[in-house]
């Protein structure tokens, strides 16, 4: 069983914005978690955590019992404590999967794991996004049409300042003609990282059945290859390599 935590900064949804609340009345994390539960069923244990909880809901004990962490953040990246970020990164190095969503490209965990600015071009005009599969054999691309059609979405465009991906799964295009590497995968230490750009607080993208399928596939793909090892707070994955 894959133990999944869906983390959300949970700020946009608490400000009374009607569009956002229309899409995500209980928060983006609730909708993402529902989608994972719906598609993975008994294969997954899905819980949520938010910025506002003590230690942002990501204690050492909880991360040690997490196989895959989903991350959604946008306007509160700076409010995430460096101590929690260190912890998340350490657990990724130790084998925890990480699925970074949309505006999470600028989150502390993602930029720390990438080593680049993770900058991109954007424009919010409610454009149609087409998500094309370029790796048809990839587990994350199974069961979705080519392309996935998202009627209205924020545009994210190249140049996307990321390291060369280990695997490219999806490329997106937009009404304006822009292109974006919208589904890219990395290994960092023993952990797998998947970035997936579709999804925004202003559009109901996380209700879209194909997007839900991608997220469910990503959860299974990002789960550790081997069962998570015990990792107490004073150990560091760095030392495992020394001792092998």
């Amino acid at each position: 069983m894959t133990r999944i935590v869906v983390w959300n900064e949970y700020v946009h949804e608490t400000r009374g914005d009607e569009v956002v609340l229309g899409n995500y009345p209980d928060g983006i994390h609730a909708v993402v978690a529902d989608g994972l539960r719906e598609l993975l069923g008994a294969d997954a244990d899905v819980t949520t955590a938010t910025l506002q909880e003590p230690e942002h809901g990501l204690t050492e004990e909880r991360l040690a019992a997490t196989d895959v962490l989903f991350w959604w953040g946008h306007i509160a990246h700076d409010q995430v404590s460096d101590e929690v970020v260190d912890r998340v990164v350490r657990h990724v190095h130790a084998g925890m999967g990480l699925v970074v969503l949309h505006s999470g490209h600028y989150s502390k965990p993602f930029t720390r794991l990438m080593g680049t600015t993770c900058s991109l071009k954007w424009r919010n005009d409610g454009e149609r996004e087409l998500v094309w599969t370029i790796a048809p054999d990839h587990p994350i691309a199974q069961g979705v049409p080519h392309p996935i059609v998202i009627d209205r979405q924020e545009m994210y465009g190249e140049q996307f300042d990321i390291p060369r991906p280990d695997e490219e799964v999806f490329l997106s295009t937009f009404d304006g003609g822009e292109v974006f590497r919208s589904g890219v995968a990395y290994r960092r230490g023993l952990g797998k990282v998947f970035y997936f750009s579709p999804g925004d607080q202003e559009y109901p993208v996380y209700h879209h059945p194909d997007i839900r399928r991608v997220l469910a596939n990503a959860a299974e793909w990002a789960a550790p290859t081997a069962p998570r090892r015990d990792l107490t707070a004073d150990q560091h994955p760095r030392d495992w390599f020394l001792n092998r």
Copy 2:
């Protein structure tokens, strides 16, 4: 000085098609070669060769004196003799650069070097193509705008059945919303291979100054890292590796 041969099957241009002749009265190879001469000047020695010449103009002696071979073919791939294809592939393995253009994705040398079907999706509706740079530091992408705008062009779309590129330089989008990996680079043996999809007999794409810049950059990039070694017909690059 880079010794360049521009090869063209030279069939479309000899059938009296007014559109094709309007674009390329002396053949696509003539226009590509002129662009290279214009931009590379004294740094390059540019000649041409066609299917109709003895040994398709690609004798052992000529390939041994070639640094970069450009390849344009479309409706006559099957007429290229296997002996010449073997020779081209052997010289790529030995360090000769190869720049494959547009419909050359189905050519014998390219499919032989890739090991895949090199299949793709296409539609010829004279659509606008935007060529986006995703590797801004790449030598082939220097000096061109982001994006390059081609007003009318045949659509080539994913899925493009190629091996994972060693380097991705350009991604293209089209009016219909499709996406294509339009500039991709590989190493095969000691030789560099660059595939660039813009360009077609029905559109004057090879007159486009930005496309010419890309081709000139590609010629310089694909040139051998070290001076070409002597390679007589009875030697094989395979043996070099054995003897190192």
Copy 3:
């Protein structure tokens, strides 16, 4: 259940060589197949095929019902018919996994899928080979020590003229100080390809429990992501891409 066919040219073992027969009295294929059955149990259906059978035992019907093909060849590469090679390559493009063993680096299917000479350096002095895992999270590397120790083995050394691997799993070293990329993975079309160099007719490497573990892991990794589609003889995977 993974349907596996272990193919062997089966020539060394039929010439009365006592060393070879001591290691593989019923052929290398028999020992490889036994190892797969032992470790995969009911998860796998393992059969064998050899060069001497009609169509080398690799008919269209059989390949259509194969998930993973293992390939061992050495001194009879040229006796494999091009028609069967075309068929194998087409099925790899269509999703069949291919695990190429040791001297199979020069086999027709492997060189066709790679597009390079696949040349390497070698010396047969019965040296110790150490097989180091460099991708500790890779499924193929699970359950084996770091390094795997093979007491006596033929040396295969760099430079190995292969395309840049999509994934590097193992690196080997030898008593003479040489190094070799001994476990490398590729995608070609919808199919996965894994090359693994340990194993030779003169040494009992395929009886080694760690090597058996790697081969069992490789079988599971190379199995198609999605169930094999129907592929009759007159269809070509190339067309699937056109129709998507």
Copy 4:
């Protein structure tokens, strides 16, 4: 002309250790810089900087006028100020090349750019290291034997916890049978990064003519593709991507 700064923490050489002083009486940086001057001549402007200088010798103005920065550190990584590290990383993102040497694998700039622990296995027994070229066409590998032989050196071994390299140039083996990815290349933003493991304070490796050749090649390879743009302290490469 390539503007090169060789940075050294310069601690081992100031403690009266006779072995270290025998190898590097004026500091490792002096020997590395001499090698670059010797081989690059008028093509390079080579200067040095050390931890002890104000801002470690790496002011904003100096980095803005640097094409390639070499980095040697070992026991004083923690003494490098985070402000200077931020500056170095920003200039790499903006196009400055970075060549990281030996124990610099644990330096702040390198781990920041990699996003992994950069951990490895090591043993200091004065073993022979063989440095094998696996990318014979790579510019950094030109002009050196296969293998480079280093008579006595510290062992660095896999597993090396780095992201998958964009390019692998060298693999090393040691008397103990270990293997190491000793020459690996990355892109980060507009900057190129090369890590090269040979070299240690206890061994005269930076006097070795083949190692000097590699470092000179690396300097030329890591130089920016285009002339460095103006980057004042209040600009960030992140913004360039937004504005393209």
